[in-house]
Subunit: 516 residues, 2 copies
């Protein structure tokens, strides 16, 4: 299949542009249609045809200056650039561009750990730095700081933060923990945000806001600039760590479970995000569906019961951890156990109580040890595709139950398992639902797409909006945030028109399209 | 003294515009030059002549719709609007406009507490709501939530947050604790940020980021929109509260004091901002300078020694507090005391140990009880003016000492006392220096202005930038954030040109001027 071209450009112009790009980065770092060199820029798990999100080429610069030069060429040749850091944003599109034919601007070569400051607990990173790389750097240099990683450790720290991902330690709100950016604007100018706007600043990675408008958030989930350096805060290694797992027997316990967690979270008795994970999600990283159910469609309650008993799982499984001196953790645990004891049939597990994959996986994540276990979910029913549906809700039993019932009803009706977890933050729930599917089955893919669209609209009708979505659903999710006659998007469109008048950066990202 | 007019507008046009504004808000809510009705919009403590920051008029709307109508009139009549919430931003300009002749858009009538949610611990507020008002509302309704107030309790929650103020409880980073805005844009359109962009959102005050670019920060310390509603997170009343004060005898102890505080802060052993307050600042709220020193210029060390002994103050005085169940506070205190015991001559004070104004003042602030004690500093030497110099630095002994010596040398050389405190946050210090002066003395005011300008430039040369400044110094502070050929300000200027092409909103705020 021939690669698409960027919109409105001839093959001759395109070829000339590629030569120019090669002059900037070296021809070996320009990838176009020859021998599958663009295969690594596919979304291998896509919920839609790969053909909808294919790059025309990719270019991999090695410095800020090269990024600037590429951006200037893009303006000159009317190229569309789709920046990625490591390109591991799977479930939401991986390395693929939103717009067919855009050129992937692959920042993976810019993977320098520019600074780690143990005293003030931060790092300054280029966009290609992966979680695994940063973790290993800290270990090798005996630096007593923890990272907070996304579930798959091959991902990039900067890319995840730019997409507003969340993690598993007390530093899980990656936007809060980000301090200072360097950004290449669409015209090729470089800026530094916050204190970085001062030439010899002492505090670029220490104080987020600087002076005047605080712009960092404007560059997240957007297409208004290319982040080329980012400061992130790291967590000092605590004097103690105690992960725990709490299981409850019935799906109906969800209400009480969330009501129990809200005060524990809002008062920071549980300092990291508490995960309330549905049995199928939990089982999925270590078991295969067919062992318990060989019929068609979603697993029925009877099979789940057997599976839960076999694997020592509850209908819901709560994960959290304590961090600090043991006497403080003792007091916190007392409060947590006392609250959960009210739920009949509750069970508690600690380090040493279990040795299953689920335990190792969660225990590692909550102390910032990157791994790739999450992808074991693909073994659940032999799926080769997945995308996440990720609405936000208040931390109330009422909202959690309403969401669970709504999402389960729709996913089951379309023949899919409900594979979900509630991530309970300080005042909000990220409800993360894995849609798993077999990409070679056209009928299933059709069902999946209709199902996904129905989920988005049904959630919006109930007042729940997604915090992040796959490339294929960005326009639809945007359309659910339409208050005041699309007021927010009119502003976003004006920012886009002003800062990127030629529309060269990531057209369509988050539903923001250039005027042309 | 006749009021100035907005730039480029005739008296006839101006009068016509005032009539139109009166038709929007009622003529009784338009204030112009008659009988001193504009006196309340002066910066009564200004470091420069009041004549430099005088409004031509003021208009006080009572609703979002009225704000929209005023903004549309401003575009039509070429008016400049200077929005304020309660106008208590003293030390940085109070209610006065940056640009002479702008019309103050006074939002104090919009002072409704629209929602308080005790369960999820937040409030939704209009810009005119004061700290005292919110505090009293919570008390009257027996709502077990704490506020985090600025030192002077008459100020507005929204205005302080828009200016990125900080407070004294664990919720002291007001930008972090803000969730969701409603903003009237310069063209009169209304938007809601974050989840508020969804018509029937369940989570506007619960999840900050929404979907797509996260714009809230862009509206802070800026002139790109008018915030008409804001969500703020409130702190659940903790099961225990223990304020403490730690004094050290020598100015030279600053180095060790800051080195001691850094790990305690970064590990959250001290959960609120720790204040290291210089003796003169501490004494200033309860004593008068002339009692200890009647000479000219700054108080000499010998007089300070006597004053410290009389008032039970150290050269530096550290304030912090613990919040939580007593057994947890016990463990935290053990760590704090153990660390500070290393400083010879250190003393510890708890509730009941002292009954002076300084104790009551700080103890109240750290539990979010608003008060007006800070203004007692004006009694120190009978000053009737003050402005704050507020640079940011890393939390290291080296940086704190360097800043202290630099600022003290300059302030003393110009004949002023050093009246400063170091506010130690998670990873940064806000160094807040009160400049106190007698506004009726032209020679002193001249010295003050030269001194302030030297402070800004000297700090910048050493790598320290201000987080906030008085109207009179906004352009200069901006000029110190000039990296990459003023890259950040070119972006700010483009945002201004796009979102407010007629330049009607707060011209000159943070050094951002309209193109015209």
């Amino acid at each position: 299949m021939a690669q698409p071209l960027p919109e409105g450009i001839s093959k001759a112009q395109f070829d000339e542009a590629l030569i120019k790009l090669g002059e900037v980065v070296g021809p070996e770092w320009v990838f176009a249609d020859s021998g599958g060199s663009l295969d690594s820029y596919k979304d291998a798990f896509s919920p839609v045809s790969e053909a909808e999100h294919r790059p025309s080429a990719a270019v991999a610069p090695n410095s800020v200056e090269e990024v600037q030069a590429i951006v200037r060429l893009a303006n000159e040749y009317d190229l569309e650039l789709s920046p990625i850091s490591t390109g591991k944003n799977y479930a939401y599109g991986g390395p693929a561009p939103r717009k067919n034919g855009a050129i992937v601007l692959d920042l993976k070569r810019m993977n320098r750990i520019l600074e780690v400051n143990e005293e003030s607990a931060y790092a300054l990173l280029e966009p290609g730095v992966t979680y695994i790389q940063l973790y290993e750097y800290l270990k090798e240099n005996n630096i007593k700081l923890w990272i907070d990683c996304a579930a798959p450790g091959w991902g990039g720290v900067v890319g995840n933060t730019m997409d507003r991902g969340a993690g598993y330690t007390p530093y899980g709100d990656h936007v809060v923990m980000q301090c200072g950016m360097e950004v290449v604007m669409a015209d090729g100018d470089v800026i530094r945000t916050g204190m970085g706007a001062m030439e010899n600043s002492s505090s670029w990675q220490l104080f987020k806001y600087g002076y005047g408008p605080y712009l960092d958030g404007m560059f997240t989930q957007s297409n208004l600039g290319i982040c080329t350096k980012m400061g992130v805060w790291l967590m000092p290694e605590p004097p103690g760590y105690r992960p725990f797992m709490i299981t409850v027997p019935n799906e109906d316990d969800l209400y009480q479970l969330i009501e129990t967690l809200r005060p524990l979270k809002i008062n920071m008795v549980i300092p990291n995000a508490a995960f309330a994970v549905h049995m199928v999600y939990e089982a999925g990283v270590q078991a295969q569906k067919h062992k318990y159910f060989t019929g068609k469609g979603p697993m029925p309650p009877s099979a789940m019961k057997k599976m839960g008993a076999d694997l020592g799982l509850g209908a819901w499984n709560v994960w959290g951890a304590l961090y600090g001196p043991p006497p403080i953790m003792d007091v916190q645990w007392q409060a947590i156990e006392g609250a959960f004891r009210q739920i009949p049939g509750v069970k508690f597990y600690f380090e040493g109580d279990r040795s299953d994959t689920a335990w190792t996986y969660r225990s590692n994540l909550m102390q910032g040890i990157p791994n790739m276990t999450e992808f074991s979910l693909m073994n659940w029913d032999g799926s080769d595709g997945h995308a996440s549906f990720s609405p936000i809700s208040p931390v109330t039993g009422r909202d959690a139950v309403k969401q669970f019932e709504l999402v389960r009803e729709i996913t089951n009706r379309y023949g899919f398992d409900y594979v979900g977890e509630f991530v309970i933050g300080w005042r909000e729930i990220h409800h993360i639902v894995w849609m798993l599917y077999h990409r070679a089955k056209p009928e299933e893919m059709g069902r999946l797409q209709t199902c996904f669209k129905e989920l988005i609209d049904a959630a919006a009708a109930a007042g729940y909006g997604e915090y992040r979505t796959h490339l294929a659903f960005m326009d639809q999710v945007k359309s659910t945030y339409n208050a005041f006659d699309n007021g927010l998007w009119k502003v976003n469109d004006r920012l886009k028109a002003e800062l990127d008048p030629n529309g060269i950066l990531a057209p369509g990202k988050s539903g923001i399209w250039p005027q042309k």
